[in-house]
Symmetry: C2
Subunit: 309 residues, 2 copies
């Protein structure tokens, strides 16, 4: 029931109107693991430089994240710095320094190859496929991507899409990928490229899941104080995949709940800088927020009493 | 259980990438009535010029819309023309000709003064208050507004807000009104000005309701073909108020259902030009869409089995 994630392990410097974090834990694999490990064991594949404070990842290890696949290589760690203006909706990248990530060639520890749940976080689609090639028989393969690969590695990305079950992207990315401003049509276009399941993350507007049989909407948790949106999408993916790995099945009902866990984890991510909110997050806090999502969306109706849901 | 609406009765000319409508039925009171009258009787207050094709409103009369309060005055009818680009998110106003609307001074027929449910659609806040002054003891007063009044009649608008129970606005409007980009904080700011209930309409991203005790989210119905977004917000208001008038109570459960009926009616509005979709809309189509909203948002969870909702 482990989830395998490959992605970036970075040091982020983030400027927001509410404060500043310097060289904080970041990267898609870190955010994903911080969220997913609250629900299921996680195996992480990535690379850092000699300068990375790996001991800062101890809280993940204590929670069942297997870091055997995290290589420490000669050179500098991946660094990202960005800034958010007052509306917090868009990150403005100030600098990206790939460091050791530039020559990353993921090699899976033997015991990772039997992973059943796989998340290929936002990295070069060729690397995503390299990882996929090394996994024996995954039950569910999910991937993320970004504008950089949609522009620069479109063919490899389309080849990857033909091999995955689930694409998780944000609204701008799926519009760019499909060339269609209508998000529903865009998600159907993605389905025709391969993935049965498509999750579109819309930031403050929540997220939706399209499957061949249904569509499910989860709002964003209403926060009056958003602190730092960095990593919210990866935490969403961590909640989604972590929940499915825990449930051990991909049914419509489990997928609905996975969406709620995704939204819940995304909402925690933005409440603090970096992965701080996940360090001491209690199961009761997660349950309470799941309950809040029910209360924000459920309605009864006499006409629907006999309905299945 | 009638709903009284005061607002514009107009002729709209709309250009979209999918076609063009010329001098079609439009105006906030018309969209509102077309939707609300499917759920409850409606009383309409407004003004048109001698040139208005009032017989085109016969379908409303047959459905129980009382047009006694619609005055036909010497002069030209209110005309609006606008265009939408491909993403259909923003209307570009090409021309607004107020005509007889410029000197409109609403006077309620005697029997309208006992209205229990009141919708003050988007007109000059001073006119909205004139109407409010003439209603004896409404159970619920709702209003809409727009950027034009937020800029030009802010004091009158704030005075009005002190006298209404519910404000329904879109995301851009509430940000402008409150000066806060965070929609939750913006809605709380509005509550401090008077309205217990605030509905924020977010177009393709759905809508949410904030009350002193809860928040409720309704997604937008996922349409692959949006035809003409004009009037969606007024149809939403019509579904919301029409449902409450039918239910006859303002409880948390009724408010949740009202949100769903609002979202349902908004989704019908955008499927055709003008109010065309409402002319022959069958109750079964409304019920079916309510059911679809349930299926798009409901989830079960063992942890929540004992929860109230």
């Amino acid at each position: 029931m482990s989830v395998l994630v490959v992605g970036s392990v970075a040091l982020d410097s983030v400027d927001t109107p509410f404060g500043r974090a310097t060289e904080a834990l970041g990267g898609s694999a870190v955010y994903f693991s911080a969220a997913a490990s609250l629900l299921a064991p996680v195996q992480l594949v990535g690379v850092v430089g000699r300068d990375y404070p790996v001991e800062a990842l101890d809280f993940l290890v204590q929670r069942g994240v297997d870091l055997t696949g995290l290589i420490q290589a000669p050179g500098e760690s991946f660094r990202w710095s960005g800034a958010y203006s007052y509306d917090l909706n868009t990150a403005h990248t100030l600098e990206t320094r790939l460091g050791v990530f530039a020559s990353f060639s993921p090699r899976l520890p033997e015991r990772f190859c039997s992973a059943e749940w796989l998340f290929l976080a936002n990295i070069d689609p060729e690397l995503q496929m390299e990882v996929l090639d090394q996994v024996d028989a995954p039950r569910l393969v999910a991937c993320d991507t970004m504008n950089y690969w949609i522009e620069g590695k479109r063919e490899a990305l389309l080849e990857l899409l033909g091999r995955v079950d689930l694409l998780l992207v944000n609204d701008a990315e799926i519009r760019q990928l499909s060339g269609d401003p209508n998000l529903i049509r865009a998600a159907r276009w993605v389905q025709r490229q391969g993935p049965r399941y498509v999750v579109v993350k819309k930031g403050e507007h929540g997220a939706f899941l399209l499957t061949p049989d249904m569509i499910f909407f989860a709002p964003a948790y209403p926060l009056e104080e958003l602190f730092d949106p960095t990593g919210a999408g990866d935490a969403f993916a961590g909640g989604f995949l972590g929940y499915l790995a825990q449930a051990g099945a991909v049914t419509p009902d489990e997928l609905r709940r996975a969406m709620v866990y995704g939204a819940v984890m995304g909402s925690f991510a933005v409440e603090r800088f970096s992965v701080e909110r996940f360090v001491d997050l209690a199961p009761s806090e997660i349950h309470e927020r799941v309950r809040a999502f029910r209360e924000m969306t459920a309605f009864e109706h006499p006409l629907l009493e006999s309905a299945r849901v």
